[in-house]
Symmetry: C2
Subunit: 269 residues, 2 copies
């Protein structure tokens, strides 16, 4: 009975090992799949942003148009890398899940076989009686064979769980190393692309853009004909300079308490 109890305990430990792996791997897989889906949603939203930036670019003067298009292109590149991240992370997740399922199936079969043999080995007090009453009747051989088969199956199961544990630990290490590498590659690529985007934005020539804008406004109004007072009445209260009241007004708007603090510091990097 002591042997049977111990063997049962061992089977329980093995069953627990696999059940535990199944439980946690299942949860981790679900969460990682959800994490991947959220990443995909972020990519979709960024794709919409790219589209919107191009629409906006097309409504602007050439200088800003070129800058915004280049910027949108860079943002799209980051989404391409994000897409690669999504599809590459997806594969090991389902692989992990499929492996656990298969192992579970094999293990169940072995445990069932072990239990049957164990039963056979103990079942017949009649066989045991036969061995005592009529040695050499063949009953002895049956019980011995069942004992040998049962021990061999138990050993196989122990080895299987040992191999399972090794495979599980190795898979975990590989899986998370893969996950981290995929994330690292994505983030490194994003840094690279955003660096280029930053340079694009730095190169933008605001003054040229503003000249285009003024030409457009004056082109429509034929300014010098239609604003005769502009040159004859350069009122000091409305000078044509950035220090005009309006500019001051806009600057003040920037300092309004309702205006959230701008992270101007970032831009100087």
């Amino acid at each position: 009975m002591n042997i049977v109890f111990s063997r049962d305990s061992q089977v329980r430990v093995m069953e627990n090992t696999v059940a535990n792996a199944e439980k946690y791997f299942g949860q981790l897989c679900s969460l990682l799949a959800a994490y991947t889906r959220k990443t995909a949603r972020l990519r979709d939203k960024a794709d919409q942003l790219v589209k919107q930036l191009i629409d906006f670019a097309n409504s602007e003067n050439p200088e800003l148009r070129a800058t915004m298009r280049d910027f949108a292109e860079d943002l799209a590149k980051v989404q391409d890398y994000r897409q690669a991240q999504v599809s590459v992370v997806g594969a090991p997740i389902s692989g992990l899940r499929a492996e656990i399922k298969k192992f579970k199936h094999v293990q169940n079969h072995e445990i069932k076989q072990l239990k049957n043999l164990e039963k056979l080995r103990q079942k017949s007090p009649s066989d045991q009686q036969m061995i005592i009453s009529f040695p050499g009747s063949g009953a002895e051989t049956n019980v011995q064979r069942a004992a040998v088969d049962s021990s061999r199956t138990a050993l196989q199961l122990e080895e299987m769980v040992d191999a399972f544990q090794r495979q599980k630990l190795r898979d975990l290490q590989t899986f998370f190393s893969d996950f981290v590498t995929i994330e690292m590659v994505f983030h490194a690529k994003a840094v690279e692309v955003y660096s280029s985007a930053f340079q694009t934005l730095e190169k933008y020539d605001l003054e040229r853009d503003l000249q285009d804008f003024r030409a457009k406004v004056q082109g429509v109004s034929g300014r010098h004909d239609t604003w005769p007072l502009a040159s004859t009445n350069p009122s000091p209260s409305a000078p044509r300079s950035l220090d005009s009241q309006v500019s001051v007004q806009l600057k003040r708007a920037n300092k309004d308490p309702e205006y959230p603090p701008c992270v101007a510091g970032w831009a100087s990097h």
Copy 2:
């Protein structure tokens, strides 16, 4: 009439400039806010993953437990940086939106005033008749004053739109530079943290973990008493090695067509 038409055209160009900015900035703000929300959802999901990893770690042997905890901690760090990204991007978005709103309000007031003055200047054929019939009656002064005021207001409006355009372009440049810098900082930090996480995973000692596992299994079964056949019957069909049938079985499972291709290459970086 020509003057009025041109001035109206100019007012239309100015109105369009602001309306256009309002439209696109509004859309961009909404999309950026949605992008930030999706980022926040991704952070939430990763936080759940961190929690799950810690639960899993606590169910494992000391070696894997320490590795998984360190890894979870790194993953949590990335989420802290993501949180910073979310809150820092949020501020300039609402700032941009608030600024456009305020400008729109000021502009509407100026345009209204301009239209009123323009109306006053043209309204009264009676005033114009008065000027011809009774020069010096004061009607002349009224019309002249309306003309001067109208021109001055138009000029102010033109300057205001010019200043608006300059401010808009500068804000755009600053906003996107800020956005890109925030993203860059986040991604650079993520690369840094994931590099450390990768090293944590590389340092994991699988063999030590497996020894702990075997000790646990044998501790429960009191192996040498309960598996008497293990040493007397080292069946060649079930050797205690990684090359056992089970191990082969697990390896085969890896090559199963149902098993998605593993990105084993990544792990070797």
